[in-house]
Symmetry: C2
Subunit: 288 residues, 2 copies
């Protein structure tokens, strides 16, 4: 089974109508409580070759906080569950926790508890609770809505590629990858649908398209204008920026318009040469 | 640093007054929301030699649910974050999730979301949210209160020892270890303090003693009367039963009185020969 099929299986077994997904998993409970969990595993989700322990703590927290931001929720608090391998010494743990605590303060989601366990592989599981008077879902995009983007896409992937290649890179790109900032606090009250961009703009936008039964047509010129130094490839398929993409019939303050909701399915790119479908490539942990 | 010292470090860094602990970590938030997370790591918290994947799912869920029970909270829901190593095939995942789902139904805590990730080591992190009008804490035990126990202690350790030794065992002991049942729904409204017995009665009771600044004196005869076939050693130091121990000046329905709160510190045993201190032995993942 692919990861997608595995998630479908779990949804069936748990007999729940709430989305169970990767990265941007958030459940809406009574009273507008929004609840999300995200796990970052050493070697799968982060590579310590280019990250300090403090970076690892920061970005794992921001990855989880980004899910709340995408649901239009204000944070209440967080729990941190750490599985630590024996090489994580006391100094490493302290740096890791400082990174988490700094991120928690930055987004206003105090860490109120957690769990410590021993293992052979280090992982950081962060769960956040928030509240939303108008939770933003993936399924509400309407024909004629605009597609809107907050934050930058492609920078983190560009930064990571430069680190891997030993190339010179724009410090903003390195920083985007090492120290992403979840866009908590940006209002999505007027959004018809929203998601955070953790796995790449094309793939994450395709989740809105599928859940809403529409096509999201992105505008090449609008994308290129945002960040001329970043390749279109990185913008469409680079992950881990934790930008927000939303649909709305109105202007969304803090967002830039990058396309429109049209009839059809999937995600496409409007270029000078016409409209081209974009394959929703992304990272599937379980693909064979 | 010991695990205890590491937890103290995290509490300081996270600048939180909410207890951060092992196993029975629960935070109390606005409106009586009670929130807990527990991780079970393959090889550390469970041994697949004697457990089916369904057992692993069940008991990991119950371990987390037990923390809610100890806080006197009624469950609202749960999130499940799975890190799966490559040997966990689709059939194993399905069995694991069925075990979780069965446990969730049993305690009335629907699994409303989660996260799937790949790793080299399998772990199951369960977070539960509940609500308590009167949350039970560790710190409220008063001099003169009785010490009360619900459920059985020592059975799980006895069952596990029999499995390891290839010995004949009471099926109730095997079942206690493989399929523990969190005591969700038992009222602790009249308890002055409570904790669940995950690491052993003596160790968990010592957390109440320390937080409340008192001594818990357990009565040997009362303990032996509960379960004559179980050794006192297993009753005092065996973990993973998920019984509840509480203190109260009143009778607690569903509980048996096993001792009294007295002046002093730590945990002691009242025997025919006098009162003997019990060392709070337990499992410290990080002890050197």
């Amino acid at each position: 089974m692919s990861e997608r099929e595995r998630i479908a299986l779990l949804s069936t077994l748990f007999a729940s109508n709430v989305p169970v997904g990767i990265g941007d998993d958030a459940a809406v409970l009574e009273g507008g409580l929004v609840w999300t969990v995200d796990a970052q595993v050493d070697g799968t989700h982060f590579d310590r070759a280019w990250l300090s322990w403090s970076d690892v703590g920061w970005r794992s927290f921001m990855a989880a906080a980004s899910d709340l931001a995408a649901m239009n929720a204000a944070p209440i608090g967080a729990l941190s569950a750490l599985v630590l391998d024996p090489t994580v010494d006391d100094a490493a743990l302290e740096a890791l926790a400082r990174g988490q605590a700094d991120a928690a303060r930055t987004v206003g989601a105090p860490i109120v508890g957690g769990n410590l366990a021993r293992g052979r592989e280090t992982s950081i599981t962060t769960t956040l609770l928030g509240r939303a008077s108008r939770p933003a879902l993936r399924s509400g995009a309407h024909l004629g809505d605009g597609v809107w983007l907050a934050g930058f896409v492609g920078r983190a992937a560009t930064g990571l590629a430069a680190l891997r290649d030993g190339a010179l890179a724009d410090p903003r790109c390195i920083d985007a990858w090492r120290r992403p900032r979840a866009l908590v606090g940006l209002s999505l009250d007027d959004a018809s649908a929203a998601i955070d961009v953790s796995d790449g703009l094309a793939l994450d936008a395709s989740h809105i398209a599928e859940a809403s039964g529409v096509q999201l047509v992105l505008d090449e010129a609008s994308l290129r204008a945002i960040d001329p130094a970043i390749t279109l490839e990185a913008m469409l398929h680079g992950g881990e920026d934790y930008a927000l993409v939303a649909t709305s019939s109105r202007n969304l303050p803090g967002f830039v318009r990058i396309g429109a909701v049209e009839e059809g399915h999937g995600v496409a790119l409007r270029t000078a040469a016409g409209v081209i479908p974009i394959p929703p490539r992304g990272f599937d942990h379980f693909a064979t």
